[in-house]
């Protein structure tokens, strides 16, 4: 194993991260219930929260923060490609169906 040089958060740190994730989830659920108050802000906020949880799990639990940049590039590359391709298809279908 080539784990020798890598930093590792301690178990306590991991539990703290998990608590943050739980709080974020609680906020998400709260947003769902208070949608009439929050209004149009709900969707973007939910997306921000989801992205936040995503980044936390990928960065710390999956260790990407501490990994070689090559791996980061693969992951980012896949994500960016997927996001762009699918944005194009969704926009195209949305436009296609309203014409």
């Amino acid at each position: 194993m080539s784990e020798t040089h890598k930093e590792h958060p301690s178990p306590t740190k991991y539990v703290q991260i998990a608590i943050v994730l739980a709080i974020l989830t609680a906020i998400e659920v709260a947003l769902y219930y208070t949608e009439d108050i929050v209004g149009a802000l709900a969707a973007p906020l939910l997306i921000v929260l989801a992205v936040g949880k995503f980044v936390i799990v990928v960065g710390w639990f999956m260790h990407l923060r501490y990994e070689n940049s090559l791996i980061n590039k693969f992951f980012a590359g896949g994500m960016i490609l997927a996001l762009i391709l699918f944005a194009i298809v969704m926009i195209e279908r949305a436009v296609g169906n309203f014409i």
Binding site: F61, L70, F74, L85, F86
Partner: protein, 194 residues
């Protein structure tokens, strides 16, 4: 691979199997990306018929989400335990992760059964088709993960400890498990909440 002394070792500095595994995970992004996109394309469409919003139960799914999220914690604790060579703790956390995964799956099955009773079936309409295939593939991935976790736990149990090589396997199973969790993070928001 062979003759480590004669051949240069990993010019990228990344362990070979880990590199391969991350490449696999990037392709899974395309896999789930396609499923999620398809779901989103149809989500807002004006088509008559029963929709997910007519049948879902957010409190229940929130608890399920929380369970899966916590299983990522137990997974990372299992990995940590192996790093510090605490074989007992490793097995405990592995089992905990598998159990939490199984609870999540049980929740999914219960949820789907309820939906079926309310008339929201796989072949009902496009909303149900996209929903079930998306969450179904996710569930299948969770199931495979649980099987892998139990297998590794079993190997550890039988051998009274995981060797260095099997430790690598734990790392990959952990990456896979976390990936399944982040897909759910996206799914929960995009399918249920928004």
């Amino acid at each position: 691979m062979s003759d480590a002394h004669a051949y240069p070792h990993e010019p990228t500095g990344v362990e070979t199997r880990k590199l391969g595994f991350w490449i696999f995970l990037s392709t899974e992004i395309l896999f789930f990306g396609t499923l999620i996109t398809t779901f989103l394309i149809f989500k807002g469409r004006d088509f008559p018929g029963i929709k997910l919003t007519d049948v879902y139960d957010i409190p229940f799914t929130s608890v399920s989400s929380f369970v899966l999220l916590m299983s990522s914690l137990t997974m990372v604790l299992a990995h940590n335990a192996l790093e510090t060579d605490d074989q007992e703790k490793t097995r405990v956390w592995l089992l905990a992760t598998a159990m939490l995964g199984a609870v999540f799956l049980a929740g999914q099955i219960y949820e789907f059964t309820e939906f079926y009773h309310k008339g929201f079936e796989l072949s009902t309409n496009i909303f149900s088709s996209t929903f079930y295939v998306l969450t179904g593939f996710h569930g299948l991935h969770v199931f495979i993960g649980v099987v892998l976790l139990l297998a590794l736990w079993g190997v550890g149990q039988r051998q009274r400890g995981l060797s260095l090589n099997e430790g690598m396997n734990l790392e990959f199973i952990a990456l896979y498990w976390h990936f399944v969790d982040i897909v759910w993070i996206v799914l929960f928001t995009v399918v249920y909440l928004i």
